[in-house]
């Protein structure tokens, strides 16, 4: 104390040291998964892929944090980043979102999307499929028939999340699903390596690294951390070129491989909630496939058959949308009125309708290929030309222009 009395300015060392300690400690906690490299026996990429295929997890519960930093422009009508605390299932496009996951075999699954003061749940318990939204105080119930995905189709890989066909909005968001999507893209165009080992949610994991061989892609790397003992993906990161932080990351922040209590999958709509009983005959797998096919062919009819330019990771899709331009510019078109989806969720909207309102807000570009509007993000670009052509790809805009002029 005496030194503090003689030189009072030295007192400020104490709060400064506390600040440094807290910030340093906080940063250490935040970055520890990346720093720690627990020693694991080396494992080849092929071995890891087999491990993933053979993984059999009977139950798990955990917290998944999904964050997107696509660098999309702020546009009206998309709702991107508008409400970061929103528990809406379709708001996963931007920002950081937290999901809680309970899984006990393909017939018991619960996913909860956490909002700041709300929650959206999807619960599958046997043949019952419930969705719950605390903001609206609504629940929907659907009785699944036995040919639903998750009962027959997924029997070979029990670790898959069931209900993926029912809720496309969240199925792509769990590490397992995101990894499946990335692995499906593996082709001769991709270099698959393993890179050391990582620690995710306090567990040791191998990292599978997918690097595009083709030049020109905006995707620099896809890294998948695979649990060393349970062999399920714990983290998926998609890096854009020239970016030190992942553009998309889906990772467990906590995971427990004990089978969750059966009570966790029981759902009874609370009194006062609006419960919608959905027709169990209509959304059978065959019907929905038919529906989807009809919707796809309708969309394809409007947009024209896509032309594929390039290959692998630098593929560019060029579509002729001149006939469906009514939908694109927001004018009422045939696509809107005939939306077959039972619940009017924004994901069920044709993409053109969502694009229409924001088209004019996009920067204008022009070149020898013509002129149009450019949507640019860290992972993909899209050009909508004034004569109704759309070019999309995980590439820089230059490659889109080249594809358009072909």
């Amino acid at each position: 104390m005496s030194i503090f009395n003689r030189v009072p300015i030295l007192r400020w060392i104490v709060p400064a040291a506390a600040t440094a300690l807290v910030i340093g400690g906080g940063a250490l906690v935040a970055n520890s998964p990346a720093d720690a490299s627990p020693p694991l026996a080396p494992r080849s990429a092929a071995q890891l892929l087999v491990d993933i295929q053979q993984a059999s997890v009977t139950g798990l519960s955990g917290t998944v944090v999904q964050s997107s930093d696509l660098g999309l422009p702020t546009l009206p009508g998309l709702g991107l980043g508008g409400d970061p605390g929103s528990a809406n299932l379709t708001s996963l496009l931007a920002g950081t979102h937290t999901l809680r996951l309970w899984y006990a075999g393909p017939h018991q699954l619960r996913v909860a999307v956490l909002g700041s003061l709300g929650e959206s749940d999807v619960i599958r318990n046997g043949n019952d499929l419930w969705t719950w939204s605390s903001k609206d105080n609504t629940a929907t119930h659907r009785t699944l028939s036995s040919d639903e995905p998750g009962s027959s189709e997924k029997s070979d890989s029990t670790d898959r999340q069931p209900g993926s066909g029912v809720l496309p909005a969240i199925s792509g968001m769990t590490p397992q699903q995101a990894a499946d999507a990335a692995l499906a893209a593996i082709s001769p165009s991709t270099k698959v390596t393993t890179d050391g080992s990582a620690e995710v949610a306090g567990r040791s994991a191998y990292e599978l690294v997918l690097t595009p061989k083709t030049a020109g892609s905006l995707v620099a790397q896809v890294r998948i951390a695979v649990d060393a003992t349970e062999h399920i993906p714990l983290r998926v990161q998609v890096f854009a070129t020239g970016q030190p932080t992942p553009a998309i990351q889906v990772a467990f922040s906590a995971v427990d491989f004990n089978r969750p209590d059966a009570a966790q999958f029981a759902f009874n709509p609370p009194p006062g909630a609006t419960v919608t009983e959905q027709d169990s005959s209509k959304p059978s797998a065959a019907d929905r496939a038919k529906e989807r096919k009809a919707a796809t062919s309708k969309a394809a009819g409007e947009l024209g058959a896509p032309k594929i330019v390039g290959s692998g990771w630098s593929t560019v899709l060029v579509m002729d949308a001149s006939s469906g331009l009514g939908a694109l510019t927001g004018r009422p078109g045939p696509a809107k009125s005939s939306d077959a989806s039972p619940s009017p969720s924004p994901t069920a909207q044709p993409p053109g309708a969502a694009l229409g309102g924001i088209l004019t807000a996009l920067p204008k570009v022009s070149g020898s290929w013509g002129s149009g509007h450019l949507l640019r993000s860290k992972l993909f670009s899209a050009v909508i030309t004034d004569n109704g052509k759309i070019a999309v790809g995980a590439v820089a805009p230059d490659l889109l222009y080249t594809a358009l002029s072909q």
Binding site: F4, P8, I9, R11, W12, V14, P15, A18, T19, V22, I23, G26, A30, T63, T74, G81, P84, G85, A94, G95, T96, R100, A112, L114, S116, L117, G118, E119, D121, W132, S134, K135, D136, N137, T138, A139, S253, A254, F267, N268, P269, P270, P271, G272, A273, T274
Partner: protein, 290 residues
């Protein structure tokens, strides 16, 4: 104001007998000051009025589901949501404002009235003075949040029925469990406000104008809210005190999601520690001129 503090030092009539360092007399006199001032009582009355207004308004016109701010639609189902709705409404401005008034007044108010030097000429250690002042702010934070909760519970259960509570996850728990979670949310918010109070204590040690310290804390709170809402500054969010104010909602999940709550408490404790030490560094070396 100065007369009540005197007993703290008055207990040393004989040379060897010094006041016990843990004597609560100073703290008790401080609390008497805070809860005895008419403006503070009026402020607490305003805080307590909010749950009453909410409950009556909802009773008169039941909002449709999905309408209104958080928890409002749930009130008709269970009176336990009245305190939650009131806390959600008040945590944005009213509660930080109340803490700003108390914390901003703590040092600067005494300095402004000229009572600070009398307080210090009584053998009150400056560190102890800061500790007592901060303890009183913390107790006020607990009292203010508890007041809202208790008033909300009473009016909520009186106007709407109690019974089972529907959690955010859609599950139902009994009234006792629901009550426990509401009290947990109250304590969590009190901890957050106490951290805000530490910032206020520091600002109060910087100036002799209590209004400046009060305004400073309100401005800091609003600035933190603004910074937290800018998407481009998303990396900054977890470091801001206000970022996890609404995490008390995690107590209403099944099972309780502790992660954010734990981070919120750690964040609040860090803020409290740093700003208390900063006010110590400032105040212990400060010349008391008034």
């Amino acid at each position: 104001m100065s007369t009540v503090e005197l007993p703290a030092g008055g207990a040393a009539p004989i040379g060897l007998r010094r006041p016990r360092p843990v004597s609560s007399r100073f703290l008790r006199s401080e609390l008497r000051l805070i809860f005895g001032r008419r403006r503070n009582i009026a402020g607490l009355a305003v805080l307590a009025l909010v749950p009453i207004i909410i409950a009556v308004a909802v009773k008169v016109s039941a909002p449709r589901p999905g309408d209104g701010p958080d928890f409002f639609a749930s009130i008709t189902g269970n009176g336990l949501f009245v305190p939650l709705a009131a806390l959600t409404v008040e945590i944005t401005l009213f509660l930080p404002l109340a803490i700003a008034v108390i914390a901003g007044d703590s040092i600067a108010g005494e300095a402004n009235l000229g009572t600070l030097r009398y307080l210090l000429t009584v053998p009150v250690n400056r560190t102890r003075l800061l500790a007592v002042k901060y303890a009183a702010i913390t107790i006020f934070a607990v009292a203010a949040t508890m007041l809202i909760t208790v008033v909300g519970l009473v009016i909520g259960v009186a106007l709407f029925h109690g019974g089972s509570m529907t959690l955010l996850s859609g599950n139902q728990i009994g009234f006792g469990g629901g009550l426990l979670r509401v009290l947990g949310a109250t304590v969590y918010l009190a901890v957050q406000l106490a951290a805000l109070g530490a910032i206020g204590l520091f600002l109060s040690s910087l100036t002799e104008q209590p209004i400046a310290a009060m305004a400073g804390l309100v401005v800091m709170t609003v600035v933190m809210y603004i910074l937290d809402s800018i998407p481009q500054l998303g990396w900054l969010g977890p470091w801001l005190l206000t970022h996890r104010f609404t995490a008390f909602g995690d107590l209403l999940r099944s099972p309780v999601a502790w992660d954010t709550l734990r981070q919120g408490v750690i964040c609040a404790a860090s803020y409290a520690l740093i700003f208390w030490l900063a006010s110590w560094a400032r105040f212990a070396g400060k010349d008391i001129t008034s």
